[in-house]
């Protein structure tokens, strides 16, 4: 695998059980255009999120991040809002799956989730699974990806992986 670069940005801390209706409300689901979706990212959790977030920033959730519907619009909206990755103490399973299939990096770490506040500067090393809170000078470990996930990522996502398989 080519060397993965670090993700660096400011943390936006949200609570537990952030559901997909908060990430992208159903009233905007008449489109799957990433830019339009990005404009409403996290709107029902923090109506001003869009005006505050900058490219590379990192969303940090509590437990069960992304619960609710299976809409891929949620990871699409987050990616299109230029958020570099999401850290949470746990993810809802469909969100976890979608994020991998679509290439939104996510990291599971209860310690990191507890040890990060909004505004903290973070640096994430995806290859090593290390999350550094630069503001507070602490380091956390994330769950390493299972080998199959690494395969998926190396193939460029689920679709290229399957196309290789069927051909």
């Amino acid at each position: 695998m080519t060397k993965q670069s670090l993700y660096k940005g400011k943390a936006w801390r949200f609570g537990d059980d952030i559901d997909t209706d908060a990430i992208i409300p159903a009233r905007y689901l008449t489109t799957s255009d990433p830019d339009e979706l990005a404009g409403h990212c996290m709107e029902d959790a923090d109506p001003d999120f869009q005006s505050k977030v900058s490219a590379g920033d990192i969303i940090v959730g509590g437990k069960n991040f992304g619960c609710g519907s299976s809409r891929e619009h949620a990871p699409i909206a987050i990616k299109a809002a230029k958020v570099s990755c999401v850290i949470a103490s746990s993810f809802a399973r469909i969100f976890y799956r979608n994020a991998f299939n679509m290439g939104l990096p996510i990291f599971e770490s209860p310690e990191a989730s507890a040890g990060i506040r909004t505004g903290d500067e973070l640096e994430v090393d995806p290859a090593e699974g290390i999350i550094r809170n630069l503001t507070r000078g602490v380091e956390f470990r994330a769950e390493p990806y299972p080998p199959f996930m690494v395969d998926l990522i190396q193939s460029g996502g689920l679709i290229p992986y399957l196309l290789k398989e069927v051909s």
Binding site: D21, T30, C67, S69, S70, S90, A92, N98, F148
Partner: protein, 419 residues
């Protein structure tokens, strides 16, 4: 190695003798499902990649139920995308308006999902079909695209939690109350990544509509799937619907469970889940008196004939309270017709309720009953998240049909006993 029913279905579809928890497998799917929100994304993927054919045109179901009948121009475009795809790829099970119903009520009704099947659907409530003894789970649109191309999907083999219900149900109490109660005990992530297996003497005699309502909400506890061992009730249900062979699986006697929860079902009261999470469930007595603006009876959880009958039974001879709007949404055209033939429409209309064509509609805040700021609804749907049925400052209380209908009559949350 002893396996759970879920593990056995996964192993069979992966061509393996056995699987173990945590193992990642590629398995063949019997059916792949998409709706008007999730299918367009999958379709765009196929079109972009220049895919010419799907793995099996008989094993894909496309149901435009969320924003259909088209609620606006954008949703009309999404539905058209599905329609054109279904035509170009000659998809057998595409349901146009008139045949279209809410997907998780429609597919079992049509016999498209059968015991022992492995089904993936780009909709989180795909877990509903566990009620038939199938393994079914919600996936995203990319998974749907992958399944449409290859007929396969990847799965991480889950561990299971067993829920054993014993005792006779109290009057009006049904599957919805059992599942709300269960989620209230274990929380919205209580079964995260895992399988929920519902068993016990209460489940053994539970009608199919209630089983479907229970498995439907497994996702609200974070579960990968909910499942009930197929039995006589299951076979009775699929009789006359199934047009292919099916397999009845059951857990091995020595199968391992992460947790076993035993509940006395005879002690479970009618339940109401307070905003804004399904885990905030309490006995109806603790919700009594909360004033409401709207009642919705419908959705893939409780929009079946049995649910409409229950609502009708409560409503008969009563009128919806002044200031309350009541919306009844039969989940499929067949349910619509049966409810009409049985005279339920007369009861609803006499009571001052409106009857909608089958659609998801207000369940996800789409259309046909959106809440204004500060408004409150009792709904037989499955989610009461912030803004789920409309304005972010509106509120949804979840219940079964009996409580919903009684609340409509009283004008505040009530039990049928209050009438």
């Amino acid at each position: 190695m002893a396996m759970t029913i879920t593990q056995k279905i996964l192993a069979a579809h992966a061509g393996l003798d056995s699987v173990h928890p945590g193992e990642i497998i590629m398995a063949e799917v019997d059916l792949a499902l998409g709706n008007d929100i999730t299918a367009p994304i999958a379709i765009s993927i196929l079109r972009e990649k220049g895919i010419q054919r799907v793995f099996d045109r008989d094993r894909i179901a496309l149901v435009p139920d969320h924003f259909a009948p088209n609620k606006d121009i954008a949703s009309a475009e999404q539905c058209r995308q599905m329609r054109e795809f279904a035509r170009d790829f000659d998809i057998t099970h595409y349901f146009e308006l008139g045949e279209m119903g809410i997907e998780h009520a429609l597919l079992p009704e049509k016999g498209l999902v059968l015991p022992g099947d492995l089904v993936v659907g780009a909709d989180s409530h795909t877990c509903t079909y566990g009620a038939l003894g199938a393994f079914s789970m919600g996936v995203g649109s990319t998974d749907l695209a992958g399944a449409m191309i290859s007929g396969k999907a990847w799965f991480k083999v889950p561990t299971s939690i067993k829920f054993v219900f014993s005792g006779k149900l109290r009057p009006w109490v049904g599957g919805k109350d059992l599942i709300l109660y269960t989620i209230g005990r274990i929380g919205v992530d209580g079964a995260l990544y895992r399988s929920m297996e519902f068993t016990g003497e209460t489940i053994d005699s539970l009608p199919m509509a209630d089983r479907l309502a229970m498995c439907n909400m497994a996702i609200e506890a974070g579960a990968k799937n909910g499942i009930i061992t197929p039995d006589g009730i299951t076979e009775e249900y699929v009789k006359g619907r199934a047009s292919r062979e099916y397999t009845l699986y059951s857990s091995d006697p020595g199968a391992r469970y992460d947790e076993v929860h035993e509940y006395d079902a005879s002690a479970i009261d009618l339940q109401v889940a307070f905003p804004h999470l399904p885990e905030n469930s309490r006995p109806v007595g603790e919700a009594r008196g909360v004033s409401i603006d709207q009642v919705v009876v419908g959705s893939c959880t409780n929009g079946r004939l049995e649910d409409l009958r229950q609502a009708g039974e409560v409503l008969r001879g009563h009128r919806v309270a002044r200031g309350v709007r009541m919306i009844v949404i039969p989940a499929t055209p067949l349910i619509y017709r049966q409810a009409m033939d049985e005279g339920l429409f007369e009861i609803f209309l006499d009571a001052g309720a409106v009857i909608s064509t089958p659609t998801c509609g207000p369940c996800l805040g789409g259309h046909m009953g959106i809440l204004a700021e500060g408004e409150r609804a009792v709904a037989t749907t499955n989610r009461n998240f912030v803004g789920r049925m409309g304005h972010p400052k509106s509120e949804v209380y979840l219940s079964g049909p009996a409580v919903a209908a009684a609340s409509a009559v009283v004008g505040s949350i009530a039990s049928p006993e209050d009438l």
